[in-house]
Symmetry: C2
Subunit: 171 residues, 2 copies
């Protein structure tokens, strides 16, 4: 196996959701890089059924937190995904995964979080988003607070075992 | 910017869908690595609403191709995603994105493709998948046929420009 294969597999495997952030601001260059990674995400028939709103206003972030996306409140930046419609959920998942990986490439922690209940409707009104759009998912990004994160209890069985995940030839 | 940031951003940005494969078989070690990357994908409330069927039977792959997922027919291996239900589409998108990145880490080409029309129902019957499951998406993986791929016409504007993708502060 080449060194770049080892490095890239390690990069992908190390990714974990991070919800504890320091107050250190995020460099605009990093945000631009993450957006550029997201912009090139593949989608069905290359429809790119998405846009992203970059939010760094603490008041708006606090509202996202109140609306169910808790990590948004303390993040350094929030990328709110605005999709064409609920039919775009699969492609939106592809985009979200690339945004968290783009953040990880910059050594930043991040997590996917969702607006719940009245959250999507409230976010549409607050940010001027047309009513037909899907506004469910955001990616919260920040410098990882290593101390707070390290103090959390660890989940001993964080993923199902391989033989429950993958089947060969048949279900 | 550190060298690993440059390398990882480059790895993410270089990813493109590949639909032209040679007949060279895929090493089982590579398949295991790709599955391992997929197994650790994040999901809402860590529900992991998915399983994967590894398909290397040319007859089954040809059927997937006939059912609308054309690249499956000539791929070295197909990873068919079986999800809990249609509500899992977002998480399924995250998983699919990681599977294509895992393949790219091994220098393999891949693409996301979907079963259309009667395809999902036929695949369920053929592979023993319960009827309530979502069976829409597969990832086709193979050694890139550089010659055939290079001969295809290039799309000059493959993604929308940044100012149509990202907004700052408001929609």
């Amino acid at each position: 196996m080449s060194q770049s294969t080892v490095d890239q597999l390690g990069f992908l495997r190390r990714l974990r959701a991070v919800k504890d952030y320091t107050t250190e601001p995020i460099a605009e260059e990093a945000i631009q890089d993450i957006l550029e990674v997201g912009r090139w995400t593949g989608s069905g028939a290359n429809k790119q059924p998405w846009e992203v709103i970059v939010v760094r206003d603490p008041d708006v972030q606090q509202k996202f937190g109140d609306w169910g996306a808790k990590p948004a409140a303390t993040a350094g930046v929030v990328l709110l995904i605005v999709s064409a419609s609920d039919g775009a959920a699969f492609d939106e998942g592809r985009l979200a995964e690339r945004l968290v990986l783009g953040a990880a490439a910059h050594g930043l922690g991040s997590t996917v979080a969702t607006l719940k209940g009245e959250g999507p409707a409230s976010a549409r009104e607050l940010l001027g988003i047309p009513p037909e759009r899907r506004v469910t998912t955001l990616v919260a990004i920040g410098h990882t607070d290593v101390e707070v994160r390290g103090a959390r209890p660890k989940n001993p069985q964080a993923r199902k075992p391989m033989d429950e995940f993958a089947h060969w030839d048949r279900f």
